[in-house]
Amino acid sequence: MFEFPRWTNRIRNWVGLGLGLGLLYVTVVLTFGFSPQATDVGYMPVQPLPYSHALHAGKLGLDCRYCHTSVETAANANVPPTQTCINCHTNILPESAKLVKVRESAATGSPVPWVRIHDLPDYVYFNHSAHVRRGVGCATCHGRIDKMEVVYQEKPLSMSWCLECHRAPEKFIRPKEEVTNMAWEPVEPQEVLGARLVQQYNLKPSTDCSTCHR
């Protein structure tokens, strides 16, 4: 039978402490290090084109739906086809070096591969139309896109984050006509406005598993 040599008595406390701290360290790293807050928020991949939402949606004031056409009717908001870019850019900055890939795509028909930023797990089914038409603002989930030179993920998009709104929609809901207004601020207290809108829109967001997981 194995016996620990006598000298190990001296380091016994230190080993115990080390194990305890190590366990704590691992727990803290796993809990916070791997949380969506740490891994997803701020995700800003390099895109194939230097497209600026700050310019188009902010400075020029284009409505979100000019490009993301199916946001009110389908599950996906959808990235616009190259044709949408070309509609304007045949006249505006037709020679710009930044638009080489757009012109290439329009000429050859091969698409521009964008990198998805707001990426939910495959077992989650999110539907844009169901939210946009009930008074959930674009900015509520995507942040101030109109101020982003390069788009990044601002919210954690975690399940608990989704449920914050599904459990208490009055805290987040806005008038339907203000959905795409990035700069919208409630003129009266959000709780009052929200409660009224929830009533008016007959909102009963479900917290059933089947709502999002199928």
């Binding site: 997803d40 996906n76 959808n78 190259t82 521009v112 998805r116 479900s206 199928r214």
Partner: protein
């Protein structure tokens, strides 16, 4: 408990069947229930259950039988090794999942929204008969086939084969390239070529042929109803006037053509109206499953069946057949006789009808049984019944019966006044065509000639499925053979050129339905594997000015378009609707005029001595048997052999998966002293084949059924090692039925994987309890019983007071989803099982896993036999679809430690895959056994049917597939999660369809309309047996059907409060005693119907 590694085979003599000869069996049928009530019949799933064999007990007692040996034996060392590896990998993968690309269109087609599925009308043609379907396309890839409601032969439903055709499209084993076989140094070498290289070769080769007017050119094609194909063929023959064209189908309805030609002077096609027929007599005719118009016929038949609720009348279906067909399973009266005796029985029936005052030509009316054989008594009763329903009956004869039998059937329908009422005729297209059998024979003779020919084979596989005595594969060697096919199959191995064909979802075309209705076939996707349609190949070879399928189909359509008006509008409408209106052939009422004396004498000649014995009811001759070559319910003639969905679909009758077997009667099994899995050797002439037997209760003694289409050596990886090739016994002279076969026990066994004993709901306390339990699960009664007490079904089980410990669930301002399953409509065709598989991304697990009871189908059709297995006429089949019952007090939810299965506010029992940790407690606690567990990465991995490395033998190039390939991924429904290993899954009432409809309705600012949500199984059902809807919507169809008199819940005493409700089946036997002998008896109370011990 038997050892887990290899359960010993049961002691042979435990089976009551094999003992039947020497001692009285232990099995005592519960009275002769045949002549009366269905109450008190004993139900059983398999002969194993009846004999209470160890295999059956293993499946019954253990939720997961044979679990232990198939998981890695865990030593401490392997455990630490695996855990270490997992931990190390965990850190590397947990940061963020791989980047995903969004690839928008450069130029988006008008009306297309990425991520929104679109349905296109097209048509699925099989064996020369088309059926209209809608193909659902998601982002350009077809993922699901639905029926086309506008099409008269679909009516919104399809069969299982059409459902599975979408998997065939993506099959990685499909032929992907042009291959030329070149002789080098005396050996044949395969060279990869391109279509351009083939076109260059063809230009030269066919140019020479053209200069010789096509002398020596032969074309072999399958049957097709395509007008474009006919047009292209005519043009081809104009360019090559001396070329000869042959049409061959291994499963042919030619006997019907010849028979009707005999009767009417010209071949005719019967158009039957099962919705108007009060009496139907089927002679070897499986109109519910294997008939080309079965989808429509099933709808018609079921709608007549459903009238019992309105006017308490029912039609009566008599089936006289050798093997147990699906039609037989739905019969009110079924008689098992050998197929070769059926023509004589038809004549006897005619003679009996003559005696009832029906006008029958004297040559037939005087038909007499040969000495020593009296016609069975039931024919006289049947004749009385038919004579009382003149003009409202149908006599149907199956394709394997002789032309004479078809002629007599035509005569009987005419004599009974059915023609023009329940039986219509249309002229057969292409009446001059030689029979398929003659055509292939003539081609073989022609190829025997020494002069080299050029043979074009369009789509077929004659090296595999031509009559065996022609030795077709050997004939091909000396000729230049061009073969266009979906797969590099057995025939491709002998051809000079192999060309990949386009799938019907990839190519333009057209086809006609059973009644001639024209449908356009439009592609949903560019050819994945570089394939081309037969019409495109023919025009390429003939040097037509048009070669693209689209142009060819339009040209034909234009030529047919004579009505005036806008051609483009008609074309677009045809594409949109999936059919062209008013193109059905005109109905005709021909009158019979045949040499009945000759027919009668020929039929008399077929009555051979052994048949005589069986006709007279005596013991069939022990020495010789008849062999019936049958269309397989899943693989058709073998062309779908590489389709995993079809291979794993349990056969509706035998519940066999992945294999075929010789179906044999219990009497013959006893005589040969074989039981299921034992091999027998069949000798027909000088041809021999040994294969395992499946003892099918209710099969006619003296007859063996061999399903075609298995044992294909070159079908693809999925089909490797599946079944036995019975075409080897099928010669031109014995094409449908071979008489005089010798059968002996071959020794040795082969494990058949049948699912009949899997997921048993009935009790584990033995047969006595099963006797009580099954009639409570599956309730059926006779018409008289129903008339006497319409609520008889509810009284089949004890009504216990059901008390809730807590308050009832309320679903006030929410929908309350529910489903009804009408057993009176359901035929058990299993199309729903495949539709569910296609809709819900259900994986295929392979034969080995099925043997362990791990098939993943969310739906199953429970098939029960009842009656005395030793008397073929007494065995009934009853079927019951089983799916998640969506209990309100779900037993599964109470045991889930992680809350992965719980209720939503609409009362659905939802399954949250991402929460599931795989304890399998829920499955253990499910009384209905409808939960399925993913033991492996079933969409890939070593157990995937494409990964044969773990099976035997290891084929080259079939190492375990370690990830799902992009091409296999394409068939998946993106609206349903693809489940991973270790996750439990089950039916969700198609929650993705419910949610989609709810979101759409809410966006439109209206409530969900009744009928807007259609589950996949409901949508496909040709019999309309399934209905889904909202019980809280008082006007919905389901709210009205739910309280139907025939309705009942399964296992109501458990108080699980299921949402799926069943409607009892009503049968209409000839002698309907209406359950008088047992009237008033409550079922015995054995051990409590509730069985609380089993559920919680």
């Amino acid at each position: 408990m038997p050892p887990l590694t290899s359960p010993p085979r049961p002691v042979r003599d435990r089976s009551p069947l094999t003992r039947a000869a020497d001692t009285p069996a232990r099995f005592e049928p519960s009275g002769r229930a045949r002549q009366g009530s269905l109450k008190g019949r004993t139900y059983w799933r398999s002969l194993d259950e009846l004999a209470d064999s160890p295999e059956f007990r293993a499946h019954l007692e253990r939720e997961f039988p044979n679990l232990a040996p198939h998981l890695t034996p865990a030593t401490r060392r392997t455990f630490l090794k695996l855990m270490g590896a997992s931990l190390a990998l965990a850190g590397a993968t947990a940061c963020r999942w791989p980047a995903e690309l969004i690839v928008p269109y450069a130029r988006r087609p008008p009306g297309r929204t990425p991520g929104v599925s679109v349905s296109y009308a097209t048509a699925f043609e099989l064996g020369g008969v088309g059926t209209g379907v809608l193909a659902t396309s998601f982002d350009g890839r077809p993922i699901k086939i639905e029926g086309n409601e506008l099409h008269p032969f679909s009516r919104g439903a399809t069969d299982a084969l059409a459902q599975a055709s979408v998997l065939e499209l993506y099959d990685p084993d499909r032929s992907t390239r042009v291959v030329q076989r070149v002789a080098t140094d005396g050996r044949m070498i395969e060279m990869n070529r391109s279509w351009e290289e083939f076109a260059a070769w063809a230009g030269q080769h066919f140019g020479t042929l053209k200069s010789r007017a096509g002398a020596g050119l032969r074309v072999l094609s399958g049957a097709t109803s395509s007008p474009t194909f006919a047009d292209v063929r005519a043009r081809f023959l104009k360019v090559f006037p001396q070329a000869k064209w042959f049409e061959y189908e291994p499963l042919s309805r030619d006997n019907e053509r010849i028979g009707t030609a005999m009767a009417f002077g010209k071949p005719h096609r019967p158009q039957l109206r099962f919705d108007q027929a009060e009496r139907v007599v089927c002679f070897d005719c499986d109109f519910l499953l294997t008939h080309p118009a079965s989808v429509r016929y099933m709808r018609d038949f079921a709608s007549r069946r459903a009238r019992v609720d309105h006017d308490q009348t029912l039609n009566r279906l008599y089936v006289i057949e050798s093997t147990y067909s699906l039609t037989g399973a739905n019969a009110d009266e079924r008689y098992a006789v050998r197929s070769s005796d059926i023509p004589a029985l038809l004549c006897h029936l005619a003679a009996e009808l003559g005696r009832q005052g029906v006008t029958i030509p004297p040559a037939i009316a005087s038909f007499e049984a040969p000495p020593g054989a009296a016609p069975p008594r039931y024919l006289a009763e049947m004749a009385v019944d038919l004579a009382a329903h003149q003009g409202r009956s149908i006599i149907a004869v199956g394709p394997r019966q002789s032309p004479d039998a078809h002629a007599v059937a035509a005569l009987l329908n005419e004599a009974l006044g059915n023609v023009g009422k329940t039986v219509h005729y249309t002229a057969e297209p292409d009446p001059q065509r030689p029979t398929h059998l003659d055509a292939i024979g003539a081609l073989a003779v022609d190829l025997h000639d020494a002069t080299p020919r050029t043979l074009i084979i369009l789509g077929g596989n004659p090296a595999y499925d031509a009559p065996a005595d022609l030795a077709f594969d050997a004939l091909l060697a000396r000729h230049t053979v061009v073969h266009l096919s979906l797969y590099r199959n057995e025939t491709s191995q002998h051809c000079t050129w192999h060309l990949p064909a386009a799938h019907y979802l990839e190519a333009w075309g057209d086809c006609c339905a059973w009644d001639g209705t024209l449908s356009l076939v439009q592609p949903l996707i560019d050819p994945l594997y570089n394939g081309r349609a037969p019409i495109e190949l023919l025009t390429l070879l003939a040097g037509d000015e048009l070669t693209r399928g689209y142009e060819l189909v339009r040209r034909t359509f234009k030529a047919q378009f004579t009505g005036g008006g806008d051609f483009e509008a008609a074309w677009r409408r045809g594409l949109h609707d999936g059919l062209v209106p008013d193109t059905a052939w005109p109905l005709q009422t021909p009158s019979t005029n045949a040499d009945w004396a000759a027919i009668a004498s020929r039929i008399k000649g077929t009555v051979s001595p052994p048949a005589r014995a069986s006709l007279g009811g005596g013991a069939p001759n022990a020495d010789t048997y008849e062999i019936v070559f049958a269309q397989d319910h899943k693989l058709y003639d073998g062309r779908f052999a590489n389709n995993g969905w079809l291979q794993e679909l349990p056969d509706p009758i035998t519940k066999l998966t992945w294999d075929n077997a010789a179906l044999i009667s219990t009497a013959d099994a006893a005589r040969l002293r074989v039981r299921q899995d034992d091999k027998i050797e069949i000798t027909v002439g000088d041809r021999r084949l040994s294969l395992p037997v499946y003892v099918l209760p209710g099969h006619a003694p003296g007859s063996l059924t061999l399903p075609l289409g298995y044992g294909r050596p070159h079908a693809g990886i999925v089909a490797q090692g599946s079944g036995f090739d019975v075409y080897k016994l099928r010669t031109a002279a014995r094409w449908h039925v071979a008489t005089g076969a010798k059968v002996r026990r071959a020794g040795g066994t082969y494990r058949l994987s049948t699912t009949q004993d899997h997921h048993t709901i009935d009790s584990d306390v033995g047969r006595e309890e099963t006797k009580v339990r099954v009639p409570e699960l599956l309730r059926e009664g006779t018409l008289e019983e129903f008339k006497r007490d319409p609520k008889f079904a509810a009284k089949r089980a004890h009504a216990l007071p059901l008390i809730q410990l807590f308050g009832d669930h309320e679903f006030r301002d929410k929908p309350k989803w529910a489903m009804t399953v009408d057993l009176n409509r359901c035929t058990g065709c299993s199309a729903c099982v495949l539709a569910c598989q296609a809709e819900n991304n259900i994986p295929v697990v392979g034969k080995e896993e099925v043997l362990r009871g791990r098939e993943m189908h969310w739906m199953r059709i429970d098939r029960y036999f009842s009656g005395d297995p030793r008397q073929a006429d007494d065995v009934h089949i009853s079927q019951q679809p089983m799916l998640c019952q969506q209990c309100e007090n779900a037993p599964c939810e109470q045991v889930c430690p992680v809350g992965a299965t719980l209720h939503d506010q609409e009362g659905l029992n939802v399954m949250v895959y991402n929460r599931c940790i795989g304890t399998r407690y829920c499955s253990n606690n499910c009384p209905w056994k409808v939960r399925r567990f993913n033991w492996f990465y079933n969409h890939y991995g070593p157990k995937h049917p494409r990964s044969k490395a773990t099976g035997t033998p290891p084929y080259p190039g079939t190492l375990p597939q370690t990830e799902i390939t992009p091409i296999e991924m394409m068939v998946h429904n993106p609206n349903v999660t693809v489940r991973t290993r270790g996750v439990m899954e089950k039916c969700t009432y198609c929650i993705q369809r419910i949610e989609a409809a709810k979101i759409k309705a809410r966006n439109d600012g209206r409530p969900v309309r009744d009928g807007e949500i259609v589950t996949a199984c409901q949508q496909v059902c040709p019999a309309e047996a399934l209905l889904f809807g909202d019980l809280n919507d008082a006007g919905s169809r389901i709210a009205r059907l739910y309280p139907n008199e025939r309705s009942y819940f399964m296992l109501e005493t458990l108080n699980a409060r299921p949402r799926t409700r069943y409607l009892a089946r009503i049968r209409n036997p000839l002698h309907d005693a209406g359950g008088t002998q047992e009237q008033g008896h409550a079922p015995q109370h054995v051990g409590g119907g509730a069985e609380p011990g089993r559920t919680g």
